[in-house]
C-alpha cells in the first residue's frame, strides 16, 4: 500500500525504515503536545517567562523561523516574477519549508499568548498602528497562500493524481502561481518588516528603538532584506541536509550556487544598511533617548562582541564568500557561508528580542537573565518534530525535487557504463558505450 | 428543474433552523421567584414612581432592585388578598431573606453603567432603556443565553438583533452609537471596570 503512494521512479527507503525514522520524531511530537497542553490548559506559568521577560524563547525562535522560512516567498518571487527558471528545482522544497516554518510559528504563537481563543479579535477590532496587527493580518493571509501553494505538491501524489479533477485543478492552480507568488511577496514584505518593526517601534526599549523611515522603523527594512538573504541560504542548507540524510542527489550544483549568489547579494546590501543603521543608532537615536549606546554592552557576556559578530563575522564574511564565484564553486565554502548567514540572522533576531528584554530601562534595574522551562523548549520541539514529519511525508509521497529523477539516473550512469563494458545483453557493446557517451556529453 | 428545487429546499431548511429552531435552543428560560406587578405599584392604585423603590444611595450609587427591607416598609404584613403577597411576607419579609430576583438587564461584571449620569445629567427616562417594564402586570420569563450566560435582554428579544423598539438590546454597540451621536469622548475604562 505504502509503495503505491510513492512517486514512480523515485527511490524511497522501505516503509519499516521510514517508520524507524519517524517514530522518534513522533515521540518528540507527543512530548511537545503534552507541553502545549499544559500551557493551554493550566496557564503560562509553565513557562519561565515573567513580567519582565514577557516574551521568551518563542519570540526569538518565531522570528528566526519566519526569517528562515522567507525562502518560500523569495524563491517564489525569483521564479515566478523574475522568471529564474533554475529555481524550479527547489521551489517545492522552499514552499514546504515555508509552510512548516510559518505554521509552526503561528502554532507557537497561539500557545504563547494567554487567551488564544480571543486572537481573532484582532481582525474584528484591529489597531492598525500596531506592528502586531500587521503581523497578524499578513501572517494569516500568507499562511493561506502557503497552504494554497502546498496544495499542488500534495495533489501530485501518485494516488491523488489518479483523480483527474485533482490533477486538473493542480494544473490550473499552477498556471496561476505567479499571482500567489506576487501576493506572497507582498505579504512577506510587510510581515517580515513588521516583525522587524515589532521591536523597532518600542520607544520604551531604547536598545531596540529605531528612528522611523516613513511609517516604519528602520528595522522594518532591515528585517525584510535580512530575511531575503537568509531564506535562500536556508533552502540551500535544508536541501543539502536532505541530500545527506537520504544519500541522494536532489538538486543540481548550479542551483546551489545560484541560491548562494542570491543570498550573498541580499546579505551585502543588508550588512551595508545594518552598519549605517547601527551608526545612526549609536550616535543619535540611543543617546537621544537618554541611553549612551555602549552602556547596553556593559554586561560582560553581552558585550560589543555581539555587534561585531553579527555584522562582520556572520554578515560581511559570508556575504563576500557567497559573492565570490570562485569560492562558491567549493561546496564547503558555499554551505559554510550559508550556515553563517543563517546563524547571523538568528543572532540578529536573538539580539533584537532576548537581549532587548534582558537589558534594564529603569536606572535602578538590573540586567535580567532567563532560562526557558522544559515546556517552552518542548513546545518548540513540537514544531521541529512536526516540521520533520511533514517534510518527510511530503518528501516520501510527493515530488519535492523535480530534478531527483533525472539526477537519480545519472547516478546510475557509472554502474551502467561498467556494465556496458562487461558482459552485456546487447549485441553491440561498443555502440552502446558510444551512445552512453553521447548521452552523458549532453549533460 | 429538480436540482434547483433541492437547493431551494436546502436554503429554506437552513433558514428555518437559523431563524426559529436556533433561538429556541439558545436560551434557557426560568420564572421569577415571585409574582410581581409593577403596574399595581406604579399605576393609579399605587401611584409610585420608579425612583421610589429603585433608589440611589448617598454616594450616588444606583441600588438596583430594592431589598426586602424596602418591601417591608409597606408589606410588613399582607395588605391585600393576593397569594404572592402572602408568599412575600411569609418566605421573605418575615425571615428577612432576600428575594432571588432574576435581573433582566444584568450587564456583565466588567461593564459599568452609571444611572445618575444618564438619568440626572443625560435626562434619559427609565423607559428609554427598560421599555414599558414599569407598567407591566407580570414579570416576564427570564431567558438566559446558554453560551454567554447573559440575560436575553442584553441582545434583545429579536434574534436578528434589529428591533423597532428603542429599548431593546443593551449591547456595547448601542452604548457606543448613542455616545457617538452625543459627541461623548470616552476611554475604554469610562464604561468598563
Amino acid at each position: 500500500m505504502d509503495k503505491l503512494l510513492i512517486p514512480r521512479g523515485l527511490q524511497r527507503t522501505t516503509f519499516e525504515k521510514f517508520l524507524l525514522w519517524i517514530i522518534p520524531w513522533l515521540a518528540l511530537l507527543a512530548v511537545g503536545a503534552y507541553a502545549i497542553y499544559l500551557c493551554l490548559a493550566e496557564g503560562l506559568f509553565h513557562t519561565n517567562m515573567d513580567n519582565r521577560f514577557a516574551f521568551g524563547i518563542w519570540i526569538f525562535l518565531d522570528l528566526t523561523v519566519i526569517a528562515l522560512g522567507a525562502g518560500a516567498f523569495f524563491t517564489g518571487f525569483l521564479l515566478y516574477i523574475l522568471r529564474r527558471k533554475e529555481l524550479k528545482a527547489v521551489i517545492n522544497s522552499a514552499v514546504v519549508i515555508g509552510l512548516i516554518c510559518y505554521s509552526g510559528a503561528v502554532l507557537v504563537l497561539m500557545v504563547d499568548v494567554g487567551q488564544p481563543l480571543r486572537a481573532w479579535f484582532t481582525f474584528w477590532h484591529p489597531n492598525t498602528h500596531s506592528m502586531l496587527t500587521e503581523v497578524t493580518f499578513c501572517l494569516t493571509c500568507y499562511l493561506i497562500v502557503l497552504l494554497i501553494e502546498y496544495v499542488p505538491i500534495v495533489l501530485k501524489n501518485r494516488q491523488l493524481r489518479q483523480i483527474p479533477k485533482f490533477l486538473v485543478f493542480e494544473f490550473e492552480l499552477h498556471k496561476l502561481m505567479p499571482v500567489f507568488a506576487g501576493i506572497g511577496t507582498f505579504l512577506s514584505f510587510f510581515h517580515q518588516g513588521s516583525l522587524g518593526g515589532l521591536f523597532g517601534v518600542l520607544r520604551g526599549r531604547p536598545f531596540a528603538f529605531r528612528e522611523e523611515l516613513g511609517i516604519w522603523p528602520s528595522t522594518f527594512f532591515l528585517f525584510v532584506i535580512s530575511a531575503a538573504a537568509a531564506g535562500p541560504s536556508f533552502v540551500m542548507l535544508t536541501t543539502t541536509l536532505v541530500e545527506k540524510i537520504t544519500r541522494k542527489r536532489l538538486v543540481k550544483d548550479e542551483v546551489y550556487r545560484f541560491l548562494g549568489k542570491v543570498s550573498g547579494c541580499m546579505l551585502i546590501i543588508y550588512v551595508l544598511l545594518k552598519s549605517i543603521d547601527t551608526l545612526i543608532w549609536i550616535n543619535s537615536t540611543s543617546p537621544g533617548n537618554g541611553f549612551p549606546a555602549f552602556e547596553f554592552y556593559a554586561t560582560q557576556s553581552f558585550g560589543t562582541w555581539i555587534l561585531f559578530t553579527e555584522i562582520v563575522v556572520l554578515g560581511l564574511i559570508p556575504a563576500l564568500v557567497l559573492l565570490s564565484s570562485r569560492l562558491r564553486q567549493n561546496k564547503r565554502y558555499l554551505f559554510g557561508a550559508g550556515f553563517l548567514v543563517c546563524s547571523g540572522i538568528m543572532l540578529n533576531r536573538f539580539v533584537m528580542t532576548i537581549q532587548t528584554l534582558a537589558l534594564p530601562t529603569l536606572p535602578f534595574d538590573n540586567f535580567l537573565t532567563y532560562a526557558p522551562s522544559w515546556e517552552e523548549v518542548a513546545a518548540f520541539a513540537f514544531v521541529i518534530a512536526y516540521g520533520v514529519i511533514l517534510y518527510s511525508l511530503t518528501f516520501r509521497y510527493s515530488v519535492i525535487f523535480p530534478q531527483e529523477r533525472e539526477l537519480g539516473q545519472t547516478n546510475g550512469e557509472l554502474s551502467m557504463r561498467e556494465f556496458a563494458q562487461s558482459r552485456s545483453v546487447f549485441k553491440q557493446p561498443k555502440f552502446v558505450t558510444r551512445l552512453i557517451d553521447t548521452f552523458s556529453s549532453t549533460k | 428543474m429538480k436540482p434547483y428545487l433541492v437547493l431551494i429546499a436546502g436554503i429554506l431548511f437552513g433558514a428555518i433552523i437559523g431563524w426559529f429552531a436556533f433561538p429556541a435552543i439558545l436560551y434557557h428560560s426560568s420564572d421569577q421567584p415571585l409574582h410581581f406587578s409593577h403596574n399595581t405599584h406604579t399605576g393609579e392604585s399605587g401611584g409610585m414612581a420608579c425612583t421610589d423603590c429603585h433608589t440611589t444611595n448617598e454616594t450616588g450609587r444606583f441600588q438596583g432592585i430594592p431589598s426586602v427591607i424596602k418591601c417591608a416598609e409597606c408589606h410588613a404584613s399582607p395588605i391585600g388578598e393576593s397569594v404572592s403577597e402572602k408568599q412575600l411576607v411569609e418566605h421573605y419579609i418575615t425571615p428577612n431573606v432576600e428575594i432571588p430576583w432574576l435581573v433582566y438587564s444584568r450587564q456583565p461584571d466588567n461593564a459599568y453603567f452609571p444611572h445618575a449620569a444618564h438619568v440626572t445629567l443625560g435626562k434619559m427616562k427609565c423607559e428609554d432603556c427598560h421599555g414599558p417594564h414599569g407598567s407591566s402586570d407580570t414579570l416576564r420569563i427570564h431567558y438566559t443565553n446558554r453560551i454567554s450566560g447573559y440575560s436575553r435582554d442584553v441582545w434583545g428579544a429579536n434574534i436578528s438583533g434589529f428591533s423597532s423598539n428603542r429599548w431593546e438590546g443593551m449591547k456595547m454597540d448601542k452604548c457606543v452609537r448613542c455616545h457617538g451621536d452625543n459627541n461623548r469622548r470616552d476611554g475604554c475604562v469610562s464604561c468598563h471596570k
Binding site: 494567554g114 477590532h125 526599549r205 | -
Partner: protein
C-alpha cells in the same frame, strides 16, 4: 440629549520618596481595591501581580553609609506616544481623552504581552496563573472592579472605579465635574505617611501642580518623550542622581514639559 463638552482632566501623582518607608500599604490597598489575587506559591517579584510594585534601591555605599530608598512603581500614565497603547493589536489599551488615564480592558486582551515589552517602566502584569482566592475571600471582592482571568495583562488605572464613584456622586447632584476629594486612589488613601499626592495636573491651584514642578521632583525616563504623569520627589541628592542617571541630557525635554504645565 446632552452634548456638553466634558472637562479635560490630567490626573497625575507626585510621590515623595523621602516619606516612603516601604511599608507596602499602598501595594496591599491597591490589590484589595482592584481585586488583585494573592500570590500562589511560585509567584515572585518577577511573575507576581502587583499593579503597584515597590523597588528597594540602594545607594551602593558600604555599611553603615549604605542607604535605601523605596521607589513605588506603577503605570506612569504616559500622555504622549503611550508605548503600550500603540502596540496593542486589538485596542485593549487606550488613553482616556478626558482623564489621561491609560485604560486596559482585560476582556479584550488576548495576552500577547506586546504591551509589556513596550512598557519601559515594567508596570504591566500578566496573569501567569489562574487567580486564586479562598471561597470566603471571593465574597470580599470589590464589587466595583471586575476580576481578571488567567492569560491577560492588567495594570494600574489610578483606581478608575473610584473615579466612577466620584462621577456618580457628582452626577447625582447634577454636577459634571467631580469633587477632587471624592477621587483618591487606594494607594494614596492608604499611605500612612501621606507620601503620595494625587490630583489634576491641569488644575493650577491643586497642590500637585506646584509639587510636580518643584525642582526636587522628577520623572523616570523622561527623555523617552512619553510624558509620564507620575512624578517622584526627593530632597536626597543621590536619589535624584540615581533617577537621572539615564537622563543627564534630559533637562531640555523636561523644561518644555514644565512650561506646558504652567501654560
Amino acid at each position: 440629549m446632552d452634548t456638553t463638552v466634558e472637562k479635560k482632566y490630567k490626573f497625575g501623582m507626585v510621590i515623595n520618596l523621602d516619606k516612603c518607608n516601604g511599608c507596602g500599604a499602598c501595594a496591599v490597598a491597591c490589590a484589595i481595591e482592584n481585586n488583585v489575587p494573592p500570590a500562589v506559591q511560585k509567584m515572585n517579584k518577577r511573575n507576581g501581580l502587583t499593579w503597584l510594585t515597590i523597588s528597594t534601591v540602594s545607594n551602593n555605599e558600604q555599611y553603615p553609609q549604605s542607604e535605601t530608598v523605596f521607589v513605588p512603581m506603577f503605570c506612569q500614565q504616559c500622555e504622549k506616544e503611550t508605548p503600550c497603547m500603540t502596540v496593542c493589536p486589538q485596542n485593549a489599551v487606550d488613553v482616556d481623552p478626558t482623564t489621561g488615564i491609560v485604560g486596559q480592558v482585560p476582556q479584550r486582551c488576548l495576552g500577547c504581552r506586546y504591551c509589556m515589552t513596550a512598557c519601559p517602566y515594567h508596570a504591566r502584569y500578566f496573569n501567569w496563573w489562574d487567580p486564586e482566592w479562598t471561597d470566603g475571600m471571593k465574597q470580599q471582592l470589590n464589587p466595583d472592579v471586575a476580576p481578571r482571568m488567567r492569560g491577560v495583562v492588567e495594570k494600574c488605572n489610578f483606581c478608575h472605579s473610584r473615579l466612577h464613584s466620584a462621577k456618580d456622586k457628582a452626577a447625582t447632584l447634577g454636577n459634571r465635574e467631580i469633587n477632587p476629594a471624592d477621587y483618591i486612589p487606594a494607594c494614596v488613601e492608604s499611605c500612612p505617611n501621606k507620601a503620595i499626592t494625587f490630583g489634576d495636573l491641569n488644575d493650577t491651584t491643586a497642590p500637585i501642580t506646584s509639587l510636580a514642578s518643584n525642582s526636587n521632583s522628577f520623572r523616570f525616563l523622561s527623555r523617552l518623550g512619553t510624558e509620564p504623569k507620575v512624578y517622584y520627589h526627593s530632597k536626597k541628592h543621590w536619589v535624584r542622581a540615581m533617577a537621572e542617571k539615564a537622563q543627564t541630557r534630559s533637562r531640555q525635554a523636561d523644561g518644555i514639559a514644565e512650561e506646558e504645565f504652567h501654560g
